[in-house]
């Protein structure tokens, strides 16, 4: 190989099941085959990942698309773009317990919900409320660290929580709540159009070395297809990178994420990683109104279709 391009990549969170395709692509040398020398670091939330890429500390990253929207609204000239939409739907969801008799969004009125202020679900609550004819201020929010919201629900100290589907479900389970007792209202199932996490790339990268970004996507896409085909072996790359993780748990997390966020009707027909401009626009509009943003970025400025691999390579074998 003539020369390799260095890419610093930051995840949105720690090494967990859903990071399997990234780590697999790294470990199996898919990135190298594209002439990329990639380093992958764990992250500290989507907002942090966006900031890291925006400041140039990282070239590319994995972050909630809504965080990108919010960032772009405040910094129109940043030129950062999403290049591969991994989570076709937002993983945000409302969790509550059967015993509370909350079965529809309408039942949430007057209840207390716990979530960190930066939680995707909490921030997108206005969209959820609008889609379900609730007043935005019809619930009371309790601000807590991610680490304790499930504890509070498990100990019945709050009525409901919002959180990422695959994280909170597993956390609740680990706190001794059986799956049968949990009521989940995924935002996506209740009319929210928001996209989930995407691979983002800095303006510098996109202008100076678009080929590297495309190569990254190709390598990642290849790994993702393999991950969907065989999650059990994919998750091994996570435990290899971080011996601390519990493989069985991460496998469940991965399959939950794949089943709910990655494999959707849209990706089955359009292929992985892609967005539809119409829904993207709705997604952005929802984000803008939920987050109370002053500008509405155009869909084209935020998602770069040109970096996606061939559609045929992005189709899942059934």
């Amino acid at each position: 190989q003539a020369s390799t391009t260095k890419i610093n990549f930051t995840l949105d969170w720690r090494f967990e099941g859903p990071s399997a395709p990234f780590l697999m692509a790294l470990d199996k040398g898919y990135f190298l085959q594209e002439g990329l020398e990639v380093t992958i670091d764990s992250g500290n939330g989507s907002a942090g990942a966006v900031t890291r890429v925006a400041t140039g500390a990282y070239d590319m990253g994995f972050a909630d698309f809504s965080a990108l929207v919010e960032y772009a609204a405040a910094n129109p000239e940043s030129g950062m773009q999403a290049v591969y939409m991994l989570y076709n739907q937002t993983p945000a969801a409302v969790f509550t317990l059967k015993e509370f008799n909350i079965n529809t969004p309408a039942d949430l009125v007057g209840k207390t919900l716990a979530a960190p202020v930066f939680d995707g679900g909490r921030k997108a609550w206005p969209a959820f409320a609008a889609n379900n004819d609730l007043a935005v201020d019809s619930v009371t929010w309790q601000s807590v660290d991610p680490a304790i919201r499930e504890t509070l629900l498990a100990r019945r100290q709050v009525d409901a929580i919002t959180g990422f589907y695959f994280t909170s479900l597993l956390n609740l389970e680990a706190r001794g709540v059986s799956l049968d007792d949990i009521v989940v209202m995924p935002y996506a199932d209740y009319g929210v159009a928001l996209y989930g996490n995407a691979i983002i790339a800095s303006q510098k990268m996109l202008i100076e070395n678009p080929e590297a970004v495309a190569g990254f996507n190709r390598a990642f896409n290849k790994a993702l297809i393999e991950t969907i085909a065989d999650p059990e072996s994919a998750v091994k790359f996570v435990s290899k990178r971080d011996p601390l993780v519990k493989e069985s748990l991460e496998l469940r997390r991965l399959t939950l994420a794949l089943d709910a966020q990655v494999i959707t009707d849209e990706t089955r027909t359009e292929g992985l990683g892609v967005v539809t401009m119409e829904r993207l626009k709705r997604s952005i509009d929802e984000a803008v109104s939920s987050f109370n943003l002053s500008r509405t970025p155009t869909p084209e400025s935020l998602f770069n279709m040109a970096m996606l691999p061939e559609k045929s390579t992005r189709m899942m074998q059934n």
Binding site: A47, T51, A54, T55, E70, Y71, A74, N75, P116, V117, F118, K123, W141, Q142, S143, V144, D145, A147, I148, T151, L152, R155, Q157, F291, N292
Partner: protein, 261 residues
Amino acid sequence: MMVFNRRKFLIKHASWMLIVFLLLVWEMICVGFNVPEYLFPAPSSVWASGVDRWQPIMMHAWQTFFTTLVGFAIAVVVGVVLGVAVGTYPIVYKAFYPLLVGFNSIPKVAFVPVLVVWFGIGTVPAILTAFLISFFPVLVNVATGLATLEPELEDVLRSLGASKLDILRKVGLPRALPYFFASLKVAITLAFVGSVISETVASNMGIGYLMMAASSSMDMALVFAGLIVIGIMGVVMYELFAWTEKRFTRWANRGVNNTAI
């Protein structure tokens, strides 16, 4: 005479001038290097944001100030009592000191979830965190102050047949006062850190909450305004201690130029 006065003037106003100078440098760096606002906002935009959100900032600041003071007060009492025990009884020293050091090497933020589960979200965990984080410096300094007491001074009281408690009250504690005041300066800053951290983890109130909320909407200017309000509260408390210290430890600071302390 002229020179003398100018020096005095300098010393008196050094603090303000330095702050203004630093703010200018900060502003210049931000503007000059085009540092993006979401990373490190310039003082001007922090100021604008602070003025803009004056009311909520004050409310949150008041909450933080209150929790910090309560936690700090508990920390001072507990720190002095434990410090006296450690500095006086060898067995307590040997038994507890290593444990306390170990305990204090642990980030207190790890205990916040447990505190929240026991005491609910809000003020109590913040108070307890402020306490847990700030009692240790007081303890260490009081214990050291007592342990380094000159035996000659102790003998003065012992020769009068004074009880251990009397010795503590009449020589031990007065002698340890400079140590104590030094520790207060450290402890109050830690108490602020403790309550803010606890608020970021679980609270709907306080500067910690404000900062989390602001940073979740990427309003870094507001985050920094919060930080600066904390800093100002720290300075206010410090000035209070400095004033008290000046009154109570004049004997220990007699060597220093009057203007110094």
